[in-house]
Symmetry: C2
Subunit: 310 residues, 2 copies
């Protein structure tokens, strides 16, 4: 394949969009499209649908493809979408990546296969290479998803080096959810000049990431706090950048006192006045009444709001 021109890439704040479920736990396309539209109105440059915080792996490929289709039919610009398409099964990753490219998605965010632990870089290289070759479309923009605390399968600098050398322009960047700024900085130093876009996996590192040449962040709390995070993204060279960073970090610290995914859903349920948003699929469990009440109280005490939601 011919390396494609590397322009018009997604940058800024992306939310790994939480997925609403109906009482029978089926995915709810209507609530999903509404939340995605709110996010794009409220500060998100893009939507990393089907991420860790989306309970993506708790859904079948078919369920995710239906939601993706609903988004595009619902008028959400495909160019703003960076769906998660990495699965344990090569065939699933190929199917979903192919469909994302066909729909015109701005990129895909790809987990490594995460069942086997301690696998070799050679095996992981083959996984990503097989997906790229089988999709066989130069419009593909593949962002690697490094989240060792959950996947337990890291994406090393050496693996990135090899993929980038073989598929420049296609291998477009990374989301670093290691929580280790030294790792993010190493990725930036080594790859940022080569058309490789580094997104921090949390807004806690947004300012540092931008100061070192990164492209933004893909962050759980983008689901509930997109405006203030985007404000920092747009004003990171300003005199108040550190103050803006301190503000969004403080909000993050409140949210992550409790399990993140049910917390986000409780917040959307509360501020959107829509209790059904609380539903999670097993193995997750929604927040109990008291921790939820404490979370909402603490957020409100800071002046937190979600303008225009619900």
């Amino acid at each position: 394949m011919r390396p494609a021109v590397t322009q018009d890439r997604i940058a800024g704040v992306l939310a790994p969009v939480v997925t609403p479920f109906r009482p029978d736990l089926s995915p709810d396309p209507d609530r999903f499209v509404r939340h995605c539209r709110w996010l794009l109105r409220s500060g998100c440059s893009g939507l990393a649908v089907f991420g860790t915080n989306s309970e993506a792996n708790s859904m079948s490929v078919e369920e995710k493809l239906e939601l993706l289709d609903a988004l595009v039919k619902g008028g959400v610009a495909a160019a703003a979408l960076m769906p998660g398409t990495g699965h344990c099964a090569l065939s699933d990753s190929v199917k979903m990546t192919r469909e994302a490219v066909r729909l015109g998605c701005g990129g895909v965010l790809m987990l490594p296969p995460f069942y086997y632990k301690g696998v070799s870089d050679e095996g992981l290289y083959r996984n990503f290479a097989e997906v790229i070759e089988r999709v066989g479309d130069e419009r593909l923009r593949l962002y690697l998803y490094h989240i060792p605390p959950v996947s337990n399968v890291p994406i090393t600098l050496e693996l990135i080096e090899r993929l980038l050398a073989r598929y420049p322009g296609i291998v477009a960047g990374v989301k670093d959810s290691s929580g280790d700024w030294n790792n993010t900085r190493a990725m930036l130093e080594r790859f940022k000049q080569r058309g490789f876009d580094v997104f921090a996996g949390s807004e806690v590192f947004l300012l540092e990431n931008l100061r070192h040449g990164g492209k933004g962040c893909i962050t759980a709390t983008g689901n509930v706090n997109p405006g203030p995070i985007d404000r920092l993204f747009r004003n990171w060279r300003g005199a108040d950048a550190d103050q803006l960073q301190a503000g969004i970090t403080a909000t993050r610290n409140i949210v992550q006192k409790v399990p993140m995914i049910p917390a986000l859903k409780s917040i959307v349920a509360h501020f959107g006045n829509d209790a059904q948003w609380r539903a999670v699929r097993p193995p997750l469990v929604e927040l109990a009444v008291e921790p939820e009440a404490a979370l909402i109280r603490e957020l409100k005490a800071t002046g937190f709001s979600m303008p225009g939601l619900g």
Copy 2:
């Protein structure tokens, strides 16, 4: 649901059957059916198809259902089958478990959802309970799959207690691949009188497991050494039981010097004279020439053979 009669359960030696792939890495039903028939002729009482050693999670649900269908159409008795049906996605687990029950499988071996780590017993309970309720068939025999070194999501004694109390007869047992005999013994002591069948996850623990009331083993090396392992299963009360145990443990120790899944495939390829068996899906990698040659040499030196293969 009414608890069903708990008789005619699978017992003995089960192989988590390795899955053959064609040169394009698609699953190969013909080779699969042939290997399954050989296993049942050669000592296996049952087949735990779609286990860890089957690269089950490297295949889509559709690919696995095609293989399962080919087995039953190929004349393999469904009652001898214990397919793996546990996925990260509730919808996938339900779909595959439902189909296994419809085909008359003797049981299913169910992984917990394994993407999220550190999840609660409550969340895991809900996962298994949802599958059982949605399948809604009293013929279901659900064996829990405890393999923390790979899944990183353990199945605790407390979780078993709760599931067994709510679904007696349906929750039929466990495969313990913790590698920790103390854990297997604790499961036996607490649950064996309650229609809960404990299988060791390796033949290394077969004799101990049988002496403490266990039902057999589900073991990787069952793919290549089913005869001798079955001999111990049938003669575990005999005077030579410890000697039989020492023999199969010695063979196991040779095989597990190298990565297990490619090792098993190399052995089947060599002794069945069929090189295509070496193929693995990413993220696994086949054995290199020299480690494979060393493995085969060492096995042959012990008199190892696979009578009737190929």
